[in-house]
């Protein structure tokens, strides 16, 4: 190994570099956090089911009778450690056991003293992009699995891209089967370096790479330092225990109204789950789409009349005056309102065999609001290259950019600002099936943007500044709109002088 590579590697191995792990023991608290939702992605033979099986097994989420059923089902298929075939824990449907593949999203539950976890286990096959998107829609963190002998695959880029699009900002790279490389440190470092470059290109900064043997249980729940003394970073479970749940949304108060509660003449309350910000009695709010203004008098729950409610709380809101509010309306902060309009830009994942047809009218459901929409595909993401190619229809599993045209006022935040009020599904009125999951990127103004579809803004920046910009969340969603040129600091000054000139 060359000297620079070593230096580089040490930096990475000194690990969790971005997640900033406390050097000493983490503060010990019992169940003080919300459950962490995570998704696991990997190619067919990366050992994903074995990894999750190992997590369940080592956290004692698997009970003896389930293990006995496993032993019975997997007779002859036990691994060389005499443990049951963990993969069978997860492949719950008969067809899956018969075919030995995972065909649908499975949800699994386990916990440690510090936190509980909900894992969406999704299929690795290319044709199941839609299932991965489904699992990723609610996840806070993605665990990407690679085989240490094989390294990153096209699938890895595909999965990382989908996870990023669905709003996941924390990645763990599990370099699995490290035992089969004789615990080759250089190999681990090479793969993690390559992955960091990929993550950076997607705008993801929170990356932890861990050398793992799921089969032997090294660096999953128990540490693997006996085999890998060179690795002093966290185990997988340590990273998961310290990861953050979806942070409080940055935009103002949002309450999509699910139903109006009128149990008697004297009470009228608006029931829903706070989708952003917070609210307290006395706050001024606007009801959309009508635009009427009112003040909050009370926040009612079964247990008590509350002083405040925050994102995630299921509440009943009482206002100070008679206003017309019905299901599908949104009650929002007066000083921080969402976007309203008839035309929006969005990205979506096509989930069904029919794909997304240009000009077809679908039902769109977002929060509690359902309305008619016409969908015009504009481009499709090539998951191999990360480029957007022009497209006027989207086949199943495609990720595309579309224009949405509504008959009635629509109300959204961008997905980047709010993963609830910026998300929607499309329902085919002919089949009633869910045909797409989508994320709002912008409101379309009548005049169009400052540049046309294919034109890009050119940014010439000093290299370090360019890297920083590329890594920002803000820029991640607009990457394709700009071409970033790395120049020297001197050259940058020249350019600026020219402009000012």
């Amino acid at each position: 190994m060359t000297a620079p590579a070593t230096a580089n590697a040490v930096e990475h191995v000194a690990a969790g570099e971005v997640l900033a792990f406390p050097a000493q023991e983490p503060a010990r608290a019992t169940r003080d956090s919300r459950p962490l939702r995570l998704i696991t992605c990997g190619s067919v033979d990366d050992g994903k089911s074995t990894l999750i099986g190992r997590l369940l097994w080592d956290t004692k989420a698997v009970k003896e009778d389930q293990a006995a059923t496993l032993q019975r089902d997997s007779s002859g298929k036990q691994n060389d450690l005499g443990l049951p075939d963990f993969a069978l824990l997860l492949d719950g449907l008969q067809a899956e056991r018969e075919q030995g593949i995972t065909i649908d999203v499975a949800y699994r539950y386990f916990s440690t003293d510090k936190r509980s976890f909900i894992v969406a286990d999704t299929p690795g096959h290319e044709q199941y992009t839609r299932n991965m998107a489904t699992g990723a829609s609610t996840a806070d963190l993605a665990v990407l699995l690679v085989d240490a002998r094989v390294g990153l695959l096209e699938q890895t880029r595909r999965h990382a891209t989908i996870a990023t699009l669905m709003g996941i900002k924390q990645f763990v790279l599990a370099v699995n089967k490290i035992d089969l490389t004789d615990y080759d440190r250089a190999r681990f470092e090479e793969i993690s370096h390559e992955f960091r470059e990929l993550a950076l290109s997607l705008g993801v900064r929170q990356v932890t790479a861990i050398p793992v043997s799921a089969l032997k249980g090294e660096n999953v729940v128990y540490d693997g330092s006996a085999s890998m003394p060179w690795y002093d970073g966290p185990t997988l479970i340590e990273v998961l225990e310290l990861a953050t749940t979806r942070s409080a949304q940055t935009v103002g108060f949002r309450l999509p109204v699910q139903r109006v509660s009128r149990p008697g003449e004297s009470f009228r309350g608006y029931q829903g789950t706070v989708a952003g910000g917070s609210v307290k009695p006395g706050d001024s709010v606007v009801i959309l789409p009508s635009g009427m203004v009112a003040n909050v008098t009370k926040i009612v729950t079964f247990d008590l009349v509350r002083n405040a409610a925050v994102a995630g709380d299921a509440i009943t809101l009482v206002l100070d005056r008679q206003v017309d509010v019905s299901r599908g309306d949104m009650i929002v902060a007066i000083d921080s309102q969402p976007l309203t309009g008839l035309s929006f830009d969005a990205q979506l994942v096509a989930l069904q065999a029919e794909g997304i047809q240009p000009g077809k009218r679908y039902w769109l459901k977002s929060g509690s609001r359902r309305q008619r929409v016409q969908v015009q595909p504009a481009s499709q993401l090539d998951l191999k290259t990360g480029k957007w190619n022009q497209a006027d229809q989207l086949p199943m599993n495609a990720i595309g950019k579309v224009h949405l045209a509504f008959d009635e006022q629509a109300i959204f935040d961008t997905y980047e600002q709010n993963r609830t009020t910026g998300a929607f599904i499309l329902i085919d009125p002919d089949t009633n099936n869910t045909v797409a999951g989508g994320m709002i990127t912008a409101k379309r103004s009548a005049l169009g943007g400052i540049h046309t579809e294919d034109a890009r803004v050119i940014l010439s920046l000093p290299a370090d500044l360019a890297d920083k910009l590329m890594a920002t969340e803000l820029f991640a969603g607009r990457r394709e709109e700009a071409e970033v040129r790395r120049v020297s600091a001197g050259k940058a000054i020249e350019i600026i002088d020219d402009i000012d000139g």
Binding site: Y109, R259, D303, N432
Partner: protein, 317 residues
């Protein structure tokens, strides 16, 4: 009962409890959201009520979701006629205490033909008295949505079931063709005759259920707590020997043991466990060290691997 609540009464007197921990709070919020969404989107929802601990939590969440209003749908209890006597007494008390609408359904064919777990075997008995009975009751009520207390951690095929689980007009579940479910945006669009089973407790585990029962002081059937009770051992299970219809087979003897039940169903098919857990704290600490899953006590799950998936495809809950 009128719901003309004076404003001062909005403060629920039983609220001197400490706040829920964030984990249970998140699960509660999710369940309430699902209850409200289904109640708003469907014309005739119903809640399947089996009297067990999960049903008790489900009912509590429904009351919270619609407070200060009443629970806006009836409860449906599919009675096989072989439930524990204490379950029925508990059910009647709860219905009265919380001012609920209860529909009780017994399969008339099964009753007429005297289908019992002893004469027809557990598989056929379950098929007629539970699966067929449930279909009859749902059809009779023309219910387009049915809430259930199923949890994904219970059994392998349930791990992949959606929160809104679509059913054909003949109540079948097609596990290979489920609607994708993204974020918390649920697709409730169905045609006439089709229906949805909605599972607000999908993401709860058994321990969550017990912790929540403790935190919220939710009443449950006393059979969950250990006590000295008469039992008889049959097929490797300890069966409660209280009901006069239980006839001892040659070689069987009745004896007393300190036992409790981890799940409740039909008494002849539900095995007790030896336990000294007499309080919720005891139950929770017993669970945390348990080495077997809760369904281990259920005879109907044992027929074959994938038996639950098969039952579900046929319309069993």
């Amino acid at each position: 009962m009128p719901h003309n609540l004076p404003e001062t009464e909005l403060h629920n007197p039983q609220s001197a409890k400490p706040p829920l921990d964030p984990h249970l709070k998140a699960l509660e919020n999710e369940a309430i959201h699902i209850f409200r969404e289904v109640a708003a989107e469907f014309e005739r929802p119903v809640m399947l009520y089996s009297i067990g601990k999960d049903s008790s939590v489900l009912l509590h969440l429904a009351r919270k979701a619609f407070y200060p209003g009443r629970v806006p749908f009836p409860l449906l209890h599919v009675n096989t006629g072989w439930k524990f006597a204490e379950m029925i007494a508990f059910r009647n008390e709860i219905v009265e205490r919380y001012d609920l609408d209860l529909i009780e359904h017994v399969n008339p064919r099964g009753a007429a033909e005297n289908v019992t777990p002893f004469t027809h075997g557990s598989a056929l008995y379950t098929d007629i008295m539970k699966t067929e009975a449930l279909r009859q009751a749902l059809d009779a009520g023309q219910f387009d949505a049915a809430f259930g207390g199923a949890r994904r951690d219970e059994e392998a095929s349930r791990a992949k079931e959606r929160i809104y689980s679509f059913r054909t007009p003949d109540h079948r579940w097609d596990p290979r063709n489920q609607r994708p479910e993204l974020w918390n945006v649920y697709n409730g669009m169905i045609r006439k005759g089709e229906s949805v089973r909605a599972f607000p407790l999908s993401n709860w585990t058994e321990v969550d259920i017990w912790r929540y029962i403790q935190a919220e002081e939710i009443p449950i059937v006393p059979l969950y707590f250990a006590e000295k009770r008469p039992i008889v051992e049959r097929d490797g299970m300890m069966i409660l020997a209280e009901d006069p219809r239980l006839e001892l087979l040659p070689g069987e003897t009745k004896r007393e043991e300190v036992i409790r039940f981890r799940t409740l169903g039909c008494f002849p098919l539900t095995g007790a466990i030896r336990s000294n857990a007499t309080t919720l704290d005891d139950i929770i600490s017993e669970l945390e060290t348990a080495t077997v899953s809760e369904r281990q006590g259920r005879a109907i799950d044992r027929d074959q691997s994938g038996s639950m998936e098969k039952k579900k495809r046929e319309g069993y809950f």
